[in-house]
Symmetry: C2
Subunit: 295 residues, 2 copies
Amino acid sequence: MIDLASAMAESARLTEAALDRLLPKTVDDPTALQEAMRYACLGGGKRLRPFLVQESAKLFGVAEHCALRVAAAVECVHCYSLVHDDLPAMDDDDLRRGRPTTHRQYDEATAILVGDGLLTLAFEILAHPDTHADPQVRVNLVAALAVASGYAGMVGGQALDMVADRAGFDIGGVTRLQRQKTGELFAFSCEAGAILGRVDSARRGALHGFAHDMGLAFQIADDLLDVEGQEEEVGKPLHKDAEAGKATFVSILGLDRAREQARLLAEQAIGHLEVFEERADTLRAVARFVVERRT
Amino acid sequence: MIDLASAMAESARLTEAALDRLLPKTVDDPTALQEAMRYACLGGGKRLRPFLVQESAKLFGVAEHCALRVAAAVECVHCYSLVHDDLPAMDDDDLRRGRPTTHRQYDEATAILVGDGLLTLAFEILAHPDTHADPQVRVNLVAALAVASGYAGMVGGQALDMVADRAGFDIGGVTRLQRQKTGELFAFSCEAGAILGRVDSARRGALHGFAHDMGLAFQIADDLLDVEGQEEEVGKPLHKDAEAGKATFVSILGLDRAREQARLLAEQAIGHLEVFEERADTLRAVARFVVERRT
């Protein structure tokens, strides 16, 4: 039996330490930039994407310090996206992980630059020789992360989210939005292990399929939490989608069918992992966790 | 005698065409994101950084289509920085190259995402096999661009600029600000040719020295234009630094000494190019151009 909570806590601890090492040290900086980059990245978060990187890397015997650097890079991208998404011109959120958002703690200009700095740092980390001895592996990581987080991936998904209150998306539109906004970075996180391990495209494809289904399940769970969750527990304002009139999986499918769909997707995600036998048991547990989580 | 104006115009045409090919095609995008990315990048600008990439690449016989992709990537980073710097929370500018800034033409959320998308695209372009057959070269380009444009480079420089009105910078502070804000990306542009050409560190160092001095000369000329230029000619609002009470080379040195210093730096920049003999005549002409330009 996998103790997922312990495994995730230990992985989060390692990720936090890696981020602490890789983020600027705030020496000789007359601005708040470097301190704010640390504020935005350190101190909390589930660190789910780094966990996926580390677990997928373990499938192929990748050295832990290599996987950790990729995990830190993915988390830099995730945190930058949160900082920019929280800005007044975007979702205008004051609270994140139970603390003031970066633009509330500092100011808007700093928050914009924090996001820019974190995104750039992610690529700096990946390109560094410490990430992998083989430059082909490093450049493959850079290419995959750029595609996953750019206009055809995460940034494009956030753009879709900004028009979601008036676009009248059907289930296909919502699926596309979420696949771009969160799914592509999940997929990169899971495929990173395969890239680091230089494995064949079949096994990389299996991880892609897993991540895709798991990402959608994760998002439906997020929509459910937005409707059913407790604000104190979740650590961010809830009911925002309904108030904004945005179509979500829950608004289209209803609570019961959405819950059922999340469970089906989690099982479907697990189905992709057969080739990895019992070595993927932790990833299987992750898929179950994302639909059962309360925060 | 070098016809610099023709050479720059031809290079700008090639860069524009490369950007046109590499930017998203706005097919099937229900948001304004992809169109706005094109708006922010296409249609104008001196394309000075792409020109430096192309000219430095020519020193080492690098294939034109490789240099052009790097030139386009640098311009994506430059254009993203302009879009974010123009935002209301930053410099709050309405006009850029004689046209509405991206957040004025579209909206703030779109402008933030345009910047994020362009920065990410720059790394996608560099990491792609078409940029160079050798993955070591591509990953070196990614690493150098990330360092030049991140918290220790361009983003850090913009953060310094945001506090410049109250930091009371002396000449050392202003030099550091400008070196980070514009100098590092100039340096990357000039060194890109050496990275693409896989040349020794001495020749890469010579280009770094050239770029560093030329970048400072460029910035002093910019400060002079801010005081002496014609708004219609320059295509953006002027006198902003003085109104904001920011220390600049001109406010510290005065007009005459600033003009003299720009000329000295341009000559010093040219001094670094000796090793390249007459093959660097165009780069020499660029150094003279940046201090004599009127826009």
